[in-house]
C-alpha cells in the first residue's frame, strides 16, 4: 500500500518542530508512526508534511521523582516497559507498556503518540486517566480529566506538542485487559489506582473514549478488593458494539477486567 504524497522533514529540536508545524496548514507530527503510517497507507490520512520528532532527545527520558514518575512524550513503549524506575514506582504502568502491540511495535511506538491519537482501544489513556496524570505540552499543562475529549480527539490545540507526562505514584495500581485475539487491541482494559485521595477506575477499549466508573471508585474507596465491585453492573448503552463483541459483552468484560485489575494491584 502506498500513501498519498507528502514532504518528510526531520525536526532538529522541539523549537524547530514548532516552527515547522506553524509553517504548514496540514502538517502532522510523526513520532513512532505505528498508527499514523498505517492510516496513511490506507489513505485515511493525508498530511501535506510529516515532521519527524522521533529522534528528539529532549522528549526521550524517564525521570523518577519523590511522588511522581515523569516520562517524556518520545519515550518508546519498550523503554517504559523496561525502566527500573517505572517498575519500582508504578509496576502496573510498566506491565501496561509491555502489553502494547508486539515487540517490534514497542520498539517504535511512543507515549506521546498514543495519547495524542487517543485511539478508543489504546492502553495508555486508561493509565493516564486512572493515575490522574498531568500532560505537559509546549504551551501548558492539562489534567487527565480534561485531556481526553472523545473518540480520536483530545484537548490539544493546533500546533500543540505533548512534551511529557507526569504520573503521580499511587499506593496501589493494577491493569487488566482482554485483548482482541487478532489485533491485540483492548476489547476492554481497566486501570485501577488507589491514592491517599481515593480510587480512580478508567476503562479503555469498551467505549468510544476512555472513561471513569464513579460507582466502582466509590465502592473501592471503602473496600479495595475485587469483591467490593463484584455486583456493580456496567451500563452497555454507550459502549461499542462491533463484529468482535456486543456492547453487553463488553459491559461484562469491563466488570471482569476491573476485578482482575484490583486483584493485580
Amino acid at each position: 500500500m502506498i500513501p498519498y504524497q507528502f514532504v518528510y522533514r526531520r525536526a532538529a529540536s522541539l523549537k524547530d518542530a514548532e516552527a515547522l508545524l506553524a509553517g504548514s496548514a496540514d502538517a502532522k507530527l510523526l513520532a513512532g508512526g505505528q498508527t499514523l503510517i498505517a492510516a496513511m497507507k490506507m489513505r485515511l490520512a493525508q498530511p501535506s508534511e510529516l515532521i519527524d520528532i522521533s529522534g528528539l532527545k529532549e522528549l526521550s527520558f524517564i525521570r523518577a521523582a519523590k511522588d511522581a514518575v515523569v516520562i517524556g512524550a518520545g519515550a518508546k513503549h519498550f523503554e517504559v516497559a523496561g525502566s527500573a524506575d517505572v517498575a519500582r514506582a508504578i509496576p502496573a504502568l510498566a506491565r501496561l507498556a509491555e502489553s502494547i502491540g508486539d515487540p517490534a511495535v514497542r520498539h517504535m511506538g511512543t507515549l506521546g503518540g498514543s495519547l495524542a491519537n487517543n485511539d478508543p482501544a489504546a492502553d495508555y489513556p486508561a493509565a493516564v486517566l486512572a493515575l490522574n496524570a498531568t500532560i505537559k505540552t509546549n504551551r501548558r499543562s492539562i489534567g487527565a480529566d480534561a485531556f481526553f475529549t472523545g473518540m480520536f480527539s483530545t484537548a490539544l490545540d493546533d500546533g500543540e506538542i505533548i512534551t511529557e507526562v507526569s504520573f503521580p505514584i499511587p499506593e496501589r495500581a493494577g491493569y487488566a485487559k482482554f485483548p482482541n485475539p487478532a489485533s491485540r487491541y483492548a476489547m476492554a482494559g481497566v486501570f485501577v489506582a488507589k491514592t491517599a485521595s481515593g480510587v480512580r477506575v478508567a476503562v479503555t477499549g469498551a467505549g468510544p473514549c476512555v472513561f471513569r466508573v464513579p460507582q466502582m471508585e466509590a465502592a473501592l474507596a471503602k473496600n479495595f478488593s475485587p469483591g467490593a465491585i463484584a455486583d456493580i453492573a456496567i451500563d452497555a448503552v454507550e459502549l461499542n458494539s462491533d463484529l468482535h463483541g456486543s456492547a453487553e459483552y463488553r459491559a461484562n468484560l469491563v466488570a471482569v477486567m476491573a476485578g482482575r485489575a484490583v486483584a493485580a494491584a
Binding site: 502506498i2 507528502f6 498505517a38 497507507k41 510529516l50 522521533s54 515487540p103 517490534a104 511495535v105
Partner: protein, 162 residues
C-alpha cells in the same frame, strides 16, 4: 524526493527516493534485498521485520526517510563469510520453516529476542512471537528453533569468554 544515506548490512548506501517510500519497498525495490517479505502490509504478520540500529521493527510501517543515518540489518546481512548465523542454523536443523515465507521475519525477530532475553523458555518465546504470523502454522518447530538458537548463542559467548 530525498536522498537517503544509511548503512545496510554494513555497507554505506545512498539512494534517492520518494518521501512516501516505505522502508520495505526501499529495501526490496531500490536495493534488491528481496529477503525481507511483504505479507500483510498492515503491521501484523512480521514478514517484513528488519533491524534498525539493532532493534527489530516492521519495515512496512516506517518510511525509508526515517532511517537516514541509521544502521539497517536485513536477513541478507546475518550470515558472515558464508557461515550461517546461529539462528539460521537452528531453523535449518529444527525444521523451523515450511513454505519459508515468514522465515526472514521470524529469524530477525528471533535474533532481537535472544539479544534482549538471553535465557528463553518456550512460553516466553511464544509470547515474544506475538507480532509474527506463520500461515503454515509451523509454530512448534519455530519455537524449538529459537530455543535451540538461544542455547547455541549462549554456548558460543561462553566459549568466547573462556
Amino acid at each position: 524526493m530525498t536522498v537517503v544515506n544509511l548503512t545496510v548490512n554494513g555497507k554505506p548506501v545512498s539512494e534517492e527516493t520518494e518521501d512516501r517510500t516505505l522502508l520495505v519497498y526501499f529495501l526490496r525495490d531500490r536495493l534488491g534485498l528481496t529477503g525481507t517479505h511483504i505479507g500483510c502490509d498492515t503491521s501484523q504478520c512480521g514478514a517484513c521485520v528488519v533491524h534498525v540500529n539493532g532493534r527489530a521493527v516492521k519495515s512496512c510501517t516506517m518510511f525509508a526517510a526515517q532511517v537516514a543515518g541509521c544502521e539497517v540489518t536485513t536477513i541478507e546481512g546475518l550470515a558472515q563469510d558464508g557461515k550461517l548465523h546461529p539462528v539460521q542454523e537452528a531453523f535449518r536443523e529444527n525444521h523451523g520453516l515450511q513454505c519459508g515465507f515468514c522465515t526472514p521475519g521470524m529469524i530477525m525477530t528471533a535474533v532481537d529476542m535472544i539479544r534482549r532475553i538471553p535465557v528463553l523458555d518456550r512460553e516466553t518465546i511464544r509470547a515474544e512471537l506475538d507480532g509474527n504470523i506463520c500461515r503454515c502454522t509451523g509454530y512448534h518447530n519455530i519455537v524449538s528453533s529459537i530455543e535451540d538458537a538461544a542455547k547455541r548463542i549462549a554456548a558460543e559467548s561462553k566459549g568466547q569468554a573462556a
